[in-house]
């Protein structure tokens, strides 16, 4: 999970408005400006796709947790059922992310339990879901990835 779009945009405002010392002008300032432009381009994609990606992931996690809950003891199964029963009433970034954090914690617990039981079928489903989750949050950049 990465910073949410409202925070990202606020950060760009701060980056652009902060005064630069004389030694950070010239090529460095140009490069930094290019990075801000790149981040704004990524922000546009996030604004378009971000809420839907979060809502999809939350739905997919609830479906998996609900289905898996019955196969586990009362403590874990109950927690999974409870998490699966919540709905995304508020579609704001903060509410979606808060719900997602709770669901991801349950998913981690479920995956650990599946590994402990050597439940290959459930592990396979979770691994497939990871691929989909990561893909749903993809943002495009021209050229190769970078660090």
């Amino acid at each position: 999970m990465t910073p949410s779009l409202p925070t990202i945009l606020m950060g760009q405002v701060i980056s652009l408005s902060a005064p630069a010392p004389p030694e950070a002008s010239g090529d460095y300032a140009v490069s930094r400006g290019g990075m801000v432009a790149m981040l704004l381009m990524l922000s546009a994609q996030e604004a378009e796709r971000g809420p839907a990606a979060r809502a999809w992931e939350n739905g997919a996690l609830r479906a998996l947790l609900a289905e898996a809950a019955g196969g586990y003891d009362e403590a874990l199964g109950g927690a999974l059922s409870a998490a699966a029963g919540v709905t995304d009433g508020d579609c704001g970034w903060s509410a979606l992310d808060a719900a997602n954090a709770d669901l991801r914690r349950r998913l981690i617990a479920l995956h650990e339990a599946a590994e402990a039981r050597h439940d290959a079928g459930l592990q396979r489903r979770i691994l497939d879901l990871y691929v989909e989750m990561a893909k749903a949050r993809h943002v495009d950049l021209p050229g190769p990835a970078a660090g």
């Binding site: 999970m1 990465t2 910073p3 925070t7 990202i8 606020m10 950060g11 760009q12 701060i14 980056s15 902060a18 010392p21 004389p22 030694e23 950070a24 002008s25 010239g26 090529d27 460095y28 490069s31 930094r32 990075m35 801000v36 790149m38 981040l39 990524l42 992310d97 997602n100 954090a101 991801r104 914690r105 998913l107 981690i108 995956h111 650990e112 590994e115 050597h118 439940d119 290959a120 592990q123 396979r124 979770i126 691994l127 497939d128 990871y130 691929v131 989750m133 990561a134 893909k135 949050r137 993809h138 943002v139 950049l141 021209p142 050229g143 190769p144 990835a145 970078a146 660090g147």
Partner: protein, 336 residues
Amino acid sequence: MTLAERLAAYLSRTEGRPVTVENLARISGGASRETYRYDAVSEEGRRPCILRRDPPDSLIDTDRRLEFLAIRSFLGRQVAAPEALVLEIEGGELERPFFIMGRVEGGSPASPFAVDPYGTHAAEIGEQFFSIMGRIAAEPVDGLPILEAADRPAPDACWRRELDYWAGVIDADELHPQPIVRAAIRRLRTSPPPPATKVAVVHGDFRSGNFLHDGSGRILALLDWEMAHLGDPLEDLAWAMDPLWSRQGDPRISGMVPVDEALAIWRRASGLEVDPKALAWWRLFASVKGQAIWTSSAKAWLDGGMKEPILLFSGWFTARAQDEILARHLSELGPA
């Protein structure tokens, strides 16, 4: 006082003669330190230098003494290490710790956004890149300056030390639960690699973009030694091979040479064999380490007042790309 004036005051005081600082300018790269180029001018003439200064908030918490000693360990040993000149732990006139290196002229690092970063020189660059990596692995550790600051793990403890460290970084800096990297960490713990065939210096960030090349097929300097340590040399090999550094669909590592060729070059230069099981473990580890760095980057960006866009880029775009790589890798491995 400007930074240039403070640096000149430091150099004049410590060298016991007047030194002026000219053409001081911040340069991009090395997100865990502020990096500047400048010329030190004294009665002896003009010396081109690089200043690496700790920032208020760092991408990764690294030991500048270790970095300095790692660079010093390899001066003149055919691994394109720059010259380490000054280490100032207290900060002096610059108020934060820093060190100074000789500046290597005439080269630039590859842009991470370049589609074909080395063009027709890709094979030559790949040969040098993996040869340098192999030579670092081949270097006997005893007697190297880095031993003054680095612990030497037992061959069977290298993997655990690195995994514990980077998992700890995620524990400390995570802003939101990350099930994918957590699954990878569990996987690594339950299926450890064989012991290292040799405990060697590990550069720690040996990859495309972290060396200067002259545009004509020659590597001039290996940069960013801030994560250097002693460990299993396969760690560097696996880090360089992470798909993050390569364009999707390009079978070459970082646009240089294909995997088999890279391994052959490394074997020749290091004199070491590559255990496929060990390399597979270190390759998954490389993505975990990457995700730890990007996680830390997002936190450093927030803690630092959201000022440095490069930290956000790493903590956002790169973190997501790393998650995709990890998820695909875990899916290919299948159930534990």
